[in-house]
């Protein structure tokens, strides 16, 4: 059996890739993809922990279901926002959306 920590490390790597994508990519859609990566990493963690620690109850899996839901919702709203902004400003570069400043 693959030990737990390996799954965690993989999840951590995926998470960090998602972090990098969020922080470093210019395009807003790419940033959203990074967020999806991070959520997936969380899911992996959740399932791994469920399998190894409390496989008897369904709590872990239920949690993952909810994460799915939230991820979907968040992806929808985010993309809607991006499209709305794009329509106004003809740009999806995150750098250009800098009005919330001094």
């Amino acid at each position: 059996m693959v030990p737990l920590w390996m799954y965690l490390v993989v999840a951590a790597a995926l998470f960090c890739l998602g972090v990098f994508t969020v922080l470093a990519r210019r395009n807003a859609v790419a940033i959203l993809m990074g967020v999806e990566l991070m959520l997936n990493a969380v899911n992996i963690n959740l399932v791994a922990f469920w399998r190894f620690v409390t496989p008897a109850t369904m709590m872990g899996q239920a949690f993952v279901v909810f994460v799915f839901v939230v991820a979907a919702a968040e992806a929808a709203v985010g993309l809607a926002l991006i499209i709305a902004i794009y329509r106004r400003r003809q740009s999806v570069v995150a750098d250009d959306a800098n009005l919330l400043k001094w």
Binding site: V19, L23, A24, I31, A94, A97, N98, K101, W102
Partner: protein, 741 residues
């Protein structure tokens, strides 16, 4: 209530009308010639009337008791001086009474004369205002019963003389003459005031009767050494000397005589007023009044002299001769009279110096009359000459002759046909001045002086000052007669020497205007009045032992002498009648007149001819006549010694060095220092305080500007920061957990 008809109170009113008239003229009437003259004449005549009333009562001829040994007096309390009160009041004793005869008479005549003389002057109303003030001041002085009130009148007259001498102030010379008169008499007045103060300190009062009738006091004063020069002079002597110095200034004796000739710059009525009736007379009046004090500790009738008496005798006699010599070489008609005034005042002062009290008073009265007459007559001559000059110019349109000096006697001549009334008046006055025997007032008064001088000097007692006085006065009398005759000859005798003299006159015979005739009437009327008095006034002082005339005029003794001597505590000794001084008086007077006639009348001067006296003296020494004419260079000496240094001190020393240099320098320095300090503070404020004040905000702004870049608006940056912070915090917590665990 006060009974104003009482002779004790009436004297209060005598100075009042002219003073009120002066105020009215200056304040209200000065736009109206008519009102001005009316007020002035009315006031003067009113004063004259009251003076006559007082005089008649004093003589006992009307309205009540004669003066006798008492006097009319009245006083009021004026101010508190510590424990005592200072009273002022009026006093009419015999001396005052005779002054009240002469002074208002002369003043009234002069006022009437002025109406004619000043009729065409643009500032004539102002003139009358000053003249009224002058008259009021003189009358105040005459009726005063104490030295302070006398001094007040004295000073007011000094101011009026300044204003009137410099009346035509557009002329530089007139203005300067006024200042000179005031300044010179001021020098004397200050010293006199010191004397008055000293007297008050010693006596506690300045009232004449209180001082002069108090024998113990006078004796004590005469034996106390003075505060200064104590070893050489007594207190009475010092006071007396100071008072005499006041007269030396006011009555223009040597060396303070220099203002009087220059005072001729004023209009002629002013000269008549100042130099005859009023101001210079006031000086002599004062020392006659103060005689008991001046003679304290001395007895001139017995050869004991003290400092004031000797001062008066020597200065007076010297001045008499000195001025007479100068008068011989003068050519201005008024200047001759000016020097003759100085000379005659010297006569009076010298007379008083040797103790001839009554003679000095007598000569004062007669001189006032005939000198006023002479000045007014000379004014008439000048007026006539000015008319003549206008006519001469008008007739000879083409030729422009050089303008002549209408006052120079060398350009006159033959005027006796042109202006006969003036000629007779001038003759009367001139003969009185010269002392023409028997029929002129001047003879009698001058004779009395010479008689007393003879008696105390050459003729009997041989007292040194009296001898000196007699010799000098006799020579001066001779010269007086000489230059007076010279004046008469050159003005009225012979033929006219210039075109102006040819046409001289008051009224143009071809177009007689009422105005011109009125003017001539106003001017010539007073001359006649005074001329009469110039002849008869002397007859009140005839010596009872004089052959024939003595019996007629003085059956009970010399009236004047008897009357005036009541002024003093002790009666003045009468001098016995002596032929010799009378003869000498005859000789000097007639001799001088004869010499003048010989030189100037018999061969009258032609136009342009040199003065024979000058020619004669030039043979002795060329500089001599020039020196006489130039008044022995005394003015130049005073100018160099006193005037110029005083001007230098005020202009250079005080104005430039002290005022502009030092005081302004200090002020400028302070101003500059304040400016520098202000600038320093300003710079400190700008650099330091504003630097800090502005630096702090700008520093904060700069820091804010740098710090705000943190909020770039970039979401990803925010995220990065958040993550970083979380990491750091997490690690810290973890490490602590590990550490604890």
């Amino acid at each position: 209530m006060i009974d104003w008809t009482n002779a004790n109170f009436l004297p209060w009113l005598i100075p009042v009308p002219p003073l009120i008239a002066s105020a009215l003229i200056f304040l209200l009437f000065n736009r109206s010639w008519f009102l001005t003259t009316l007020t002035a004449l009315a006031a003067t005549i009113l004063s004259w009337g009251m003076s006559l009333a007082v005089l008649l009562r004093a003589l006992g001829l009307a309205f009540g008791d004669p003066l006798g040994g008492s006097a009319f007096s009245s006083q009021i309390a004026w101010m508190d001086t510590g424990t005592t009160q200072f009273n002022i009041g009026v006093l009419v004793d015999p001396l005052t009474a005779v002054m009240l005869f002469m002074v208002p008479l002369a003043i009234s005549m002069i006022m009437i004369y002025s109406v004619g003389y000043m009729a065409n002057d643009p500032r004539r109303e102002r003139f009358f205002g000053y003249m009224a003030l002058f008259a009021g001041a003189m009358l105040t002085l005459v009726v005063a019963d104490n030295l302070l009130l006398l001094f007040i009148g004295w000073e007011v007259m000094g101011f009026c003389s300044y204003s009137l001498i410099g009346f035509w102030f557009e002329k530089e010379s007139a203005h300067k003459a006024g200042v000179k008169a005031f300044m010179t008499t001021r020098v004397a007045d200050v010293i006199m005031l010191i004397g008055i103060v000293y007297l008050f300190a010693q006596a506690g009062t300045l009232n004449f009767r209180d001082i002069f009738f108090n024998h113990e006091f006078l004796a004590e004063l005469a034996s106390t050494p003075a505060l200064i020069f104590g070893g050489a002079i007594s207190a009475a002597g010092l006071i007396g000397v100071f008072l005499v110095i006041g007269t030396v200034g006011k009555s223009a004796q040597f060396p303070l005589h220099v203002w009087l000739p220059d005072a001729m710059e004023g209009p002629t009525p002013v000269s008549a007023m100042i130099h005859a009736a009023a101001m210079v007379s006031a000086g002599i009046y004062m020392i006659i009044r103060m005689y008991p004090l001046l003679a304290a500790g001395a007895d001139p009738h017995h050869g004991i002299y003290n400092a004031p008496l000797m001062l008066m005798a020597y200065v007076g006699a010297f001045t008499a001769l000195f001025a007479a010599i100068i008068a011989v070489a003068q050519n201005d008609i008024k200047r001759i009279l000016a020097y003759s005034t100085i000379s005659q005042l010297g006569f009076m002062m010298a007379a008083l110096g040797i103790g001839a009290y009554v003679a000095a008073a007598f000569h004062l009265i007669t001189h006032g009359i005939f000198k006023a007459l002479l000045f007014m007559s000379s004014g008439a001559v000048i007026h006539a000459m000015e008319h003549g000059e206008h006519h001469a110019h008008a007739e000879h349109h083409g030729e422009h002759a050089a303008p002549i000096d209408v006052q120079d006697i060398r350009s006159m001549g033959g005027l006796r046909q042109r202006i006969p009334v003036t000629w007779w008046a001038f003759l009367a006055g001139g003969m009185a001045l010269a002392g023409f025997p028997l029929i002129t007032a001047g003879f009698w008064s001058k004779d009395e002086i010479l008689a007393e001088a003879w008696h105390l000097g050459v003729g009997g007692e041989w007292f040194g000052p009296a001898v000196f006085v007699f010799i000098l006065l006799a020579v001066a009398a001779f010269l007086t007669a000489f230059y007076t005759t010279r004046q008469l000859a050159m003005v009225f005798g012979g033929q006219p020497r210039t075109a102006a003299a040819e046409h001289a006159g008051f009224v143009d015979p071809e177009h007689p205007t009422p105005a011109a005739q009125a003017i001539s009437g106003f001017m010539q009327g007073p001359l006649l009045v005074l001329a009469v008095f110039a002849v008869i006034a002397g007859f009140v002082g005839v010596h009872p032992d004089f052959p024939l005339l003595g019996a007629i005029f003085s059956p009970y003794g010399n009236p004047f002498h008897n009357f005036v001597t009541g002024t003093l505590a002790e009666e003045m000794p009468k001098v016995a009648f002596n032929w010799l001084p009378v003869l000498i008086s005859f000789l000097v007077a007639l001799g001088g007149i004869w010499a003048g006639w010989m030189v100037y009348w018999r061969r009258p001067l032609a136009a342009g001819q040199e003065d024979p006296t000058k020619v004669a003296l030039d043979r002795v020494s060329p500089a001599l006549y020039t020196a006489m004419q130039r008044k022995f260079y005394l003015d130049e000496l005073y100018n160099a010694a006193f005037v110029r240094p005083a001007q230098w001190i005020s202009d250079v020393l005080v104005a430039q060095i002290v005022d502009r240099g030092i005081i302004d320098g200090v002020l400028h320095f302070i101003a500059r220092a304040a400016t520098v300090i202000g600038e320093t503070f300003k710079r400190f404020n700008r650099v330091v305080i504003d630097g800090v004040g502005d630096g702090i905000p700008s520093g904060i702004a700069r820091f804010g500007g740098w710090f705000r870049q943190l909020q770039s608006g970039q979401v990803q940056q925010y995220l990065l920061m958040a993550l970083l912070s979380a990491l750091v915090i997490g690690m810290v917590v973890f490490v602590r957990l590990i550490g604890r665990g």
